[in-house]
Symmetry: C2
Subunit: 473 residues, 2 copies
């Protein structure tokens, strides 16, 4: 279960004041809650690519929005080779063109969309299609409505039904399955169905979360009803921190600084829960520094499947952490923004080599990644280079990265030294991938996806015009 722009502070179990996620809170109580889970990127596509590949964006070449070319060792691929049936329900966001779509990357079934549910001026760009396996079944806004005024949209219901149907069918067929459930109602433009609209204490964003939480409840209930919950590994997390730039339409990063798009904790630290009765003891809370990139090797470890050899992963199996048999150990986190290593954590210490809040282009159009938060020399409006004397924070005493440690102190020296060491090791071993898709071309958007002719949704693509992709937010 992989959420969209849901922040660390959004669930009741992570201290959201509204406390409206009873099903997810129960998942935590029946399994393990991670306090220190990190994503591979604080924006959607690279985060999803790193989740599935177990590798940092800088290593897999996918560090801005683009197309997923390297899924060869994603969980669905390896599991598929071992007889699992794989389905993705929801947002893919790893490429528009047919050869990049999920069914060409190890999934057997798909219901969902290749990208965010933005509404486009269809004379310039077609609305995003929704696929059922290899063929589109319609387009957002035209066939799958999301009402900008009322916030009504039925997709979460559809995504929940698809998940339930798949689980039930595969169980009855007695087949092992892997479900990647990726609803996107918490990404702007937010939506919720009529049953949930106006029901939460948090407005539309809260409604969207409540509906997803209810979906989780239905999925868990079905697993129990089918009596497979004890041999089903369930994992829940989110792709990046809450979109603070969306103001009250964004989620909560709890006590952390800033959000999506940034390398502050608010952008990189994720809610994460895992449940696997019999293997993962219930009621655990771990402070182990963990990475979403650990999921690939961890899944394979639980499934007793060997990893393909000769593959450098940034993740590692954290099965023993989940099983509660490992003491908390120190481990590096590398926070990239694009291809630049902005920050690194080791132990409780986090060093900022670069700081950067909101780019000037984004501020101009009303964006702000840290609304209401301003820390001198830290939330800088320009990309600021501190590589000579990194800013150092203690994330235990100061999870909000508010109080840089005085660089003249012994603590600074002691805290920084191991970070500089792991960063050097990381750089020495790193084979940077060439970004393959930082160029955009409207002609390759979804003008005429397979199946469009059956439902009269084909559009004529414009002549190809390649330009450098630009995402100010």
């Amino acid at each position: 279960m992989f959420m969209d722009d849901m922040g660390w502070g959004d669930l009741g179990i992570y201290g959201n004041p509204a406390s409206e996620t009873p099903n997810l809170d129960r998942l935590a109580e029946e399994g393990i809650k991670f306090t220190d889970m990190y994503t591979g990127s604080s924006i959607c596509s690279p985060s999803r690519a790193s989740l599935l590949s177990g590798r940092l964006p800088i290593r897999n070449g996918f560090y801005s929005d683009g197309q997923f070319a390297r899924a060869s060792y994603a969980p669905q691929v390896v599991l598929g080779e071992n007889g699992y049936q794989n389905k993705i329900v929801g947002k893919w966001h790893l490429g528009h063109r047919e050869r990049y779509l999920p069914l060409n990357h190890g999934f057997h079934e798909w219901f969902g969309a290749p990208n965010c549910h933005y509404k486009y001026d269809t004379t310039v760009q077609p609305n995003i299609p929704v696929y059922k396996n290899r063929e589109m079944t319609g387009r957002y806004y035209q066939d799958y409505k999301i009402d900008h005024k009322t916030g009504l949209g039925n997709l979460t219901q559809l995504y929940t039904q698809e998940a339930l149907e798949f689980i039930e069918r595969k169980t009855k067929q007695n087949e092992n399955f892997f479900l990647y459930w990726a609803p996107d109602a918490t990404h702007t433009p937010l939506y919720a169905s009529k049953e949930f609209r106006g029901k939460s204490k948090r407005g539309l964003y809260g409604d969207a979360i409540m509906e997803i939480d209810a979906g989780v409840g239905k999925i868990m209930a079905l697993l129990k009803k089918l009596d497979i919950d004890k041999n089903t590994f369930v994992f829940f997390s989110s792709d990046n921190g809450a979109a603070t730039y969306a103001f009250t339409n964004g989620g909560s990063n709890g006590p952390f600084l800033c959000g999506k798009q940034t390398t502050f904790e608010g952008g990189y630290r994720q809610p994460a829960l895992a449940r696997f009765p019999g293997k993962i003891p219930a009621g655990q809370i771990t402070n182990q520094v963990s990475l979403l990139m650990d999921l690939l090797p961890t899944i394979l470890d639980f499934a007793d499947i060997k990893m393909p050899r000769n593959l450098t992963l940034d993740g590692q199996s954290i099965r023993n952490v989940m099983e509660g048999t490992s003491k908390v150990y120190d481990r590096g986190v590398f926070y990239y923004r694009g291809n630049a290593l902005f920050k690194s954590r080791y132990g409780f210490y986090k060093a900022h080599f670069y700081t950067w809040n909101t780019p000037a282009e984004a501020i101009k159009i009303g964006y702000h990644y840290c609304p209401g938060q301003r820390i001198e020399n830290v939330t800088t409006s320009q990309m600021t280079n501190y590589t000579d004397k990194p800013l150092l924070f203690h994330l235990g005493r100061d999870p909000g990265e508010k109080f840089p440690i005085d660089p003249t102190t012994e603590e600074y020296r002691i805290g920084l030294a191991p970070i500089l060491k792991i960063v050097q090791q990381h750089k020495d071993k790193l084979i940077k991938a060439k970004p393959e898709f930082n160029l955009c071309d409207l002609a390759i958007q979804n003008w005429a996806p397979r199946g469009c002719e059956k439902i009269n949704r084909c559009m004529k693509a414009p002549p190809s015009y390649v330009y450098k992709c630009f995402w100010p937010y």
Copy 2:
């Protein structure tokens, strides 16, 4: 159990990233957790006076630090009249002089101190005494050490032992008892005993919390061992929001704005848990707006004791909320700073009539109530009057008070109207008390408390010199 400067975000169950309060988290799971519990004041003494009196500081005359003259209807008084044996363990902070001390205000036993554990220059002001019932047993720093360098101090251990001894003794004597347990290790200067120093992930502040949490665990274990936990009402909260001015030596207010001393949510919203097996169903989370001033009538309600007549309380019994038999209802909150009504909440809406962050005098000496947070027109450095057009916030969508609602909108009008109405009703009915103790006099400090001669701790008081009290922080 009433904490000192512990913030809403300090417990695991309230989303603290360190998650180091297993005993308090368990208390929540076995009882009810309040998301919207408010204090009567965001500084220590008035908050404690309002807790015990069930009345706002503006109504009981105690709205800055001072002496407690009106304890006639505090829980210990009414319970005492009904045969309960009452003990306070820890910080009193409602007066230094003998006639204001706990044993003259309904308590039968006391171990603790009349004030914060600051260290004074004893040529100018005596260090605060520690009392055992009516007589002092020593002074902070001289007899009860708190090491400023190492953060070592043994008081929480002593406070825990005193609580355990009292509970066991009263149970064996088959007497009803009321224990007011008020450890103060989380108020600066922080301290923890050797067993806990350096053990938490959060530095000294976290060590202090871990030790208090362990104390709670011991108390709960004793209640269970004595088999009285099923007829013992346990309540846990804190006097005011975390002291953000103490930077990394202060606690966490989670997603809320600013902290202690302010009328933002960070100053007024408290963690609060209640447990009473058989009466309070386990595992509840309530969003009911509640006040610490509700505790007096609620305790009496649970104890089946009638409130004394003719007393205007600001609190009301929330027994049915705790029992889960009440639907969440709208209710006013009045946020005072000194004698000025700064803000008011009704439903989800909170109106700011005045805003004020850190006074200039406090900034000069390095204080800041909202470090790292700055919201234009909201966290103003001067006291700013918005009574003509109050700033309005929706605490559901925006618990951090970051995004004022546009005053030209329908929502502004609809949200503000009921607040203006309840404020008018509040003002119409309010009989303001005259502050009796806003004047200070070093001569009335603890120069020669009762019993000082036995332990050679008497000091000669200086001539009386009365001045206006001054607390910049």
